[in-house]
């Protein structure tokens, strides 16, 4: 459930980042920064999507999780410097859901 929330939030982030990069008069349209943010949201969502679909080999889970979390933080940071609050919010939600899903999974494992 939490991974799904993270994934959906990432999808919404792609929409917001895409709009900011591609629609006119956003203040950042067409800039390298806007495309970087778009790329970041796509990367985060793809990574989380792999968890959701369960297509991650168990050996790679840790690495992919760290990468997803790192990309989410960096994308959120980019969104903050791009003044794209909506993208920032989606990345925060995505990150929180991702972290919580991990914590929940660990608790389930230990119990």
């Amino acid at each position: 459930m939490l991974l799904t929330i993270s994934f959906l939030s990432g999808l919404v982030g792609i929409c917001f980042a895409g709009a900011a990069a591609l629609l006119p008069d956003t203040g950042i349209d067409g800039t390298p920064g806007s495309f970087l943010a778009l790329l970041g949201t796509v990367g985060v969502t793809s990574a989380v999507g792999m968890f959701v679909t369960g297509k991650v080999p168990s050996k790679a889970r840790g690495v992919l999780f760290c990468l997803a979390a790192l990309f989410t933080v960096l994308t959120a940071l980019a969104a903050w410097f791009l003044m794209q609050d909506a993208v920032l919010a989606t990345m925060v939600v995505s990150l929180l859901a991702l972290l919580m899903s991990s914590a929940t999974a660990e608790r389930k494992t230990t119990t």
């Binding site: 956003t26 203040g27 806007s34």
Partner: protein, 637 residues
């Protein structure tokens, strides 16, 4: 008829510097005194957060330069007169809009060539307005100049040409371009209209040739376009070897004294003066000219033998100040160097001390710099040019020490360090400091408000023998990549071409420590600076800088009697309202490009409007637009 008489009356009131109180916005700077002061009393710090977009129009006259049409630069102040909003566009069309809705009433196309004949871009700063005060066709006119040196006069109600003006409504101003005519007199800044006289300056390109058209001010009759007088600024004996010292910016007028105050630019070429070692007293000056005759009344040269392109960028602001209990008619000139010169506008005598100080010498071939330059410590300069800004550690680290190495490589010995072959820091940059947006002033309190850019450039003289090879090496096709304020400049006829660029890392980060732009207020009665705050947000690759960094700016502020500053100007595509008392931001809105213009603030049918032309300027960033956007307070319930 009643409305015409009212309008004429109010225009006359607006022309009096001490009474800058106008329901019209009839000139580039709002009034002839260039106060940029509006009596919009409802625009207050309390009401301004509710300011909302009333309408928006796209003119269609825009180019990013990627096709056949050169890029556009649009810095027009909308003119509100005759209960209509008039705009000039960078395609040299006039638009007449309904101020309440933005609906087009008429348009007029000059059919000017869309070639950047004297500038790197198609530029326009708007239109001028004249009316006789009587009824009849063409008794109210809108005037627009073109890149190819024609001045068009059209009927203000219909947009039809006024056939009694020039040749069927078109005056060929280039007919007076008789000497060293290597380029046409580009009419990019709207002319100044005072009474029935139209005062015309022009723009050229003083970075390309040594010998160019000599600068002058042309006065013509508003009805016929007939030449009234033509005053030159280059001594006749120097005309064969130099040129320009022209007026490319706006002017201010004191009708009571019968004087027009003109900002005279630097002689050609911009960055080497070995061809013009004899004095040119009127160059890079504020000069007062008698409107009736064209005679020079007085002149104040603020840069001697200018080789920094620190030409006078804006109309001086006229305001009456109190000195020792006595009211003094004053003139305030903000400059690219960051000095604020306050003069008695009757005589040109400084009202605060101006001191001639020794400045560095040049080692360029044939150069003979002035040993001294005028410095004014009060009011405090808008730029601290006693020292170069520190290297920004972040940029230095990310460039592996490039900024520090540059600091050791290029020359800087204070303001007026001359251009050199090894490279010289230009601090402030050639765009200033303060540029054509000028300052706003409260005529009641004598408080001045001004936005300032804090940008460092590097200028390098390139010996003629090496110039072509360097340009070839720097560009793919060997074409001269000169931009407006950066690039290679040929300076043909001189021993040096030049290269001018901002001091940045290879990744594009500024090498100098922020801030990059500020907003300041000064009490002109005492010379005290009341505050200086960072203004706007810098932007690179789309990322915004921190608030404390500020932004370089182009364009000027407007002050309302309600105590609010309305200003675009920053590179972050925002228009803003500031609290005049503190400089703090009260409101902002995102627009299509940097609003590098002065807004019009006026009252129409009982509502107060703020209107910007949003066009962008490559000096700030490569983004252009064709947006006209109007704001007003919501109607009261």
């Amino acid at each position: 008829m009643k409305s015409i008489a009212y309008l004429v009356g109010t225009v006359l009131v607006a022309a009096a510097p001490a009474l800058a109180d106008q329901p019209v916005w009839g000139t580039f700077n709002g009034d002839l005194a260039a106060t940029k002061f509006s009596d919009a009393a409802t625009l207050t710090p309390e009401s301004i957060p509710a300011l909302e977009r009333a309408w928006e129009v796209r003119t269609g006259d825009v180019s990013d330069g990627s096709g056949d049409v050169p890029a556009t630069v649009w810095s027009a102040t909308p003119i509100y007169a005759n209960e209509t909003l008039y705009l000039g566009t960078p395609f040299y069309r006039i638009l007449a809009l309904d101020p309440a809705t933005g609906a087009e009433r008429w348009s007029y196309d000059t059919k000017s060539t869309l070639e950047a004949l004297t500038q790197p871009a198609l530029k326009n700063r708007g239109v001028a307005y004249w009316e006789s005060g009587t009824d009849g066709p063409c008794e109210k006119r809108v005037l627009i100049g073109t890149m190819d040196a024609t001045l068009h006069a059209v009927e203000a109600d219909t947009g039809t040409p006024c056939t009694d003006f020039g040749d069927n409504g078109v005056l060929n101003v280039n007919q007076w371009n008789e000497t060293n005519a290597v380029f046409p007199f580009s009419l990019l800044q709207p002319p100044t209209v005072v009474g029935d006289t139209i005062l015309i300056g022009w723009a050229g390109k003083d970075w390309v040739y040594s010998v160019e058209p000599p600068g002058n001010l042309i006065a013509v009759d508003a009805r016929t376009g007939a030449l009234l007088w033509d005053t030159g600024f280059i001594p006749p004996e120097l005309i064969p070897v130099t040129g320009t010292a022209n007026i490319w910016s706006s002017m201010s007028v004191d009708p009571d004294l019968g004087l027009v105050y003109v900002p005279v630019s630097s002689p050609s070429p911009n960055y080497w003066g070995g061809n013009r070692t004899a004095p040119i007293p009127l160059a890079t000056s504020i000069t007062a000219i008698r409107i009736e005759t064209g005679e020079v009344e007085w002149s104040f040269q603020h840069v001697h033998h200018d080789v920094w392109d620190y030409d006078t960028p804006s109309a001086p602001t006229l305001v009456d100040l109190t000195r020792d209990g006595v009211t003094v008619p004053a003139l305030v000139q903000t400059t690219k160097q960051g000095f604020i010169f306050v003069l008695d506008r009757r005589t040109g005598e400084p009202l605060f001390p101006v001191e001639e100080r020794a400045v560095p010498a040049s080692d360029a071939d044939g150069e003979q710099l002035s040993p001294t330059q005028p410095f004014a410590d009060v009011p405090k300069p808008t730029i601290n040019h006693t020292t170069l800004p520190d290297v920004w550690p972040l940029a230095d680290a990310l460039s592996f020490g490039q900024c520090s190495r540059d600091r050791e490589t290029y020359r800087y010995e204070g303001l007026y360090t001359p251009p050199s072959v090894e490279g010289t820091f230009l601090w402030p940059a050639t765009a200033g400091g303060n540029n054509w947006g000028g300052a706003a002033v409260d005529p009641q309190t004598g408080i001045l408000y001004v936005n300032t850019s804090q940008v460092v450039q590097v200028i390098r003289l390139i010996p003629r023998a090496d110039y072509e090879a360097e340009v070839q090496a720097a560009t793919a096709d060997g074409s001269d990549p000169s931009g407006n304020e950066a690039g290679f400049y040929a300076q043909e006829g001189s021993p040096y071409g030049i290269e001018l660029f901002e001091w940045r890392t290879s990744l594009g980060l500024p090498c100098w420590k922020p801030p990059y732009g500020t907003f300041s207020a000064y009490d002109l009665n005492t010379g005290e600076r009341l505050y200086e705050v960072p203004f706007g947000l810098a932007q690179q690759w789309g990322f915004y800088g921190l608030r404390s960094w500020g932004s370089p700016t182009l364009g000027g502020p407007v002050l309302t009697s309600g105590g609010v500053i309305m200003i675009g100007a920053s590179m972050d595509n925002r228009v803003r309202a500031l609290d005049a008392a503190t400089g703090q931001e009260l409101w902002s809105d995102l627009v299509a490009a940097p609003a590098v213009s002065i807004p019009a603030v006026f009252t129409h049918q009982g509502a107060e409007y703020v209107v910007w032309a949003v066009g962008g300027n490559s000096i700030l960033k490569p983004q252009v637009a064709d947006q006209v956007v109007a704001y007003r307070l919501p109607p009261k319930e």
